[in-house]
Symmetry: C2
Subunit: 364 residues, 2 copies
């Protein structure tokens, strides 16, 4: 937990982050754009821009002539100035993504993981994968770190894997620490779903409101973006959305309760009725909307990507019909724009966000 005290360095980081977010989402911007977006004075924006230009994070990209008067300097992010690597650790595969400062996935690759793999086997796969994906030695020097998106439960704050579901060798493994030692890179560990929603939020910038990413794979999870930041929960284990009961008299779930969203969905999918499975997910999504009032719902995950349109239709329809919401209560429903790379890319963006996003402040 990088807690900083509230001194002037916070102001610097905060305002720089706002400009960076603008550059990420708008591709080009000028001083006046930033002034309007931030409420800072033009002079203050000049200083921020000078600092970022000095660091090589942004650069001038021409002039804009509006008519009368001196032309404005147009700036743009320098995508190649910084990189991060994201890793999506699933039960049988390791997916890696090389993401640049602009949030673009420059390379991605999947490699198999041994059945019931050990921490050591994962580290070896990471080393090999990172070596392959950063063939260009120029990238190496600009790497800000590695983000790992993984199934839980895990302790994000301390970089500890508590009890990864269905993996025997993963109990209280200090993955962040051993990976940092093994790879020589700063490592950021988070739940897969939280990484996924970060990717969506990062690409949308300030216009992105409260949102959830619903991940449909062997299990069903939910990642949340609330109040301008990822919601991880009191013990950084939010997201077990699949284990919410939607059918009090339903079948028994592995978690011990009856009628969990996940088991009900699984039964429908097993029976081949994808439409019904999608409807079950849709019920869960509307439950979330009622509870949390979200602006965006993003669908992702391997099982979803097999029938994206079926799920999209079912959820969209349910949101429209069941939520009985007025026209001012709008919620967009989309399939993750990053496809199978969503988790890995989001994990990488979390690393970049640690450096170039809003600095963390201690709570109250």
């Amino acid at each position: 937990m990088t807690r900083i005290t509230a001194d002037v360095t916070f102001l610097r980081g905060y305002n720089q982050a706002r400009v960076m977010a603008l550059g990420r989402t708008a591709r080009t911007f000028e001083r006046s754009t930033v002034v309007e977006a931030t409420g800072l004075t033009p002079q203050a924006v000049s200083k921020v821009i000078a600092r970022l230009t000095g660091d090589g994070l942004i650069r001038p990209a021409g002039l804009r002539r509006t008519g009368i008067g001196k032309p404005a300097v147009v700036y743009e992010l320098v995508p190649d100035s910084r990189y991060a690597i994201g890793a999506h650790v699933a039960r049988r595969t390791l997916r890696l993504a090389l993401v640049d400062l602009a949030g673009a996935v420059r390379h991605s690759a999947v490699r198999p993981l041994p059945g019931d793999f050990t921490p050591e086997q994962l580290l070896d796969a990471l080393t090999a994968g990172i070596g392959a994906i950063t063939g260009d030695s120029d990238v190496r020097g600009r790497l800000t770190g590695l983000g790992i998106g993984m199934i839980g439960p895990l302790d994000h704050a301390n970089g500890l894997v508590r009890d990864a579901h269905g993996l025997r060798h993963w109990h209280d493994v200090p993955l962040r620490e051993i990976a940092e030692k093994h790879l020589g890179l700063p490592v950021h560990l988070d739940k897969d779903v939280t990484a996924g929603i970060t990717a969506e939020a990062w690409r949308h910038g300030a216009t992105f409101g409260d949102a959830a990413l619903i991940m449909i794979e062997s299990g069903i999870g939910g990642g949340f973006w609330l109040g301008g930041t990822a919601h991880r929960g009191a013990h950084t284990n939010a997201g077990e959305f699949g284990h919410t009961v939607v059918d009090l008299n339903g079948p028994r779930c592995v978690c011990g309760r009856h009628g969990c969203l996940e088991i009900v969905h699984h039964h429908a999918a097993e029976a081949g009725d994808i439409t019904q499975a999608a409807r079950v997910v849709a019920v869960g999504v509307v439950n979330l909307l009622q509870t949390l009032d979200l602006a965006h719902v993003v669908l992702a995950g391997a099982d979803l990507l097999r029938h994206p349109q079926t799920y999209l239709t079912a959820v969209t329809e349910a949101v429209r019909a069941d939520a009985r919401r007025a026209d001012w209560l709008t919620t967009t429903v989309t399939v993750s724009s990053l496809g199978a790379d969503a988790i890995a890319a989001g994990a990488a963006m979390q690393v970049l966000d640690r450096h170039y996003g809003v600095p963390e402040l201690a709570p109250i």
Copy 2:
């Protein structure tokens, strides 16, 4: 929305808020306490304390002799230095609470509201109630404003009541604006459940993690405290927790869906089976824990207060048994310490929090 730019005034407000939070929760504190809690230098804390003392918000309250060395000055909040009034607008009653800067409820009173009351009738009741509760003219000059906690849907950001459930005369009523004009006080409008959870968080200060307040009255709602602030959602309408489906094949709810928590609970309660009703709520609470990973669950509401122990037992038991959580995943379950005043008191605290809490920053 009081958005401030990130300049040095933010730092001042932020660090002052941290000291105020400390004074609220610890009752007495000294410079060294603040230094430890905030990470600021002793000299910076001296300046903050000097400012707050100058404003009359805190005052010296003796010395503490530890042994050798100069004794430390002990400070305390001045509870009487500021007040706020909170109003809980329910379907048939208006409950008012006078809350001091320390978060204590100094007076509270209930008065009936006419059936299907109009905005004008509410304003009249507010005027009369505020007059009665602030009999001491000394309080008047120290009033920071009025907070209104009310059923939704409503637009917190713009102070608009959209469509209060079951109230005919409440469609797109700009309540904040007309109340400010009518009462001559700053007014803060929020959903009842959000006000309620604010009360709990305010009294606990920085040690309070992510939490939910479950309000069981004619309907069932949920207020959320996530990441150190109230979660209101994209359209400030989070909290319709009662309208989450827990029984896919359950009875039809007024909202149009089947098997909502609220209707299932209602049926059980109607049948006189409070234990079963409490169990239904418990299922919903565990759903929330799975999804959001909360540190605290607070139970409140008129119907709950008729059988507090039954509900508390059922929810505590379900949290312990059903969530299948490791020992590091602890969640406390309590009944709101403010009883029937919870919503009104929380609405008042929201007003105080606007002045003496953490200043709002624009998102990213």
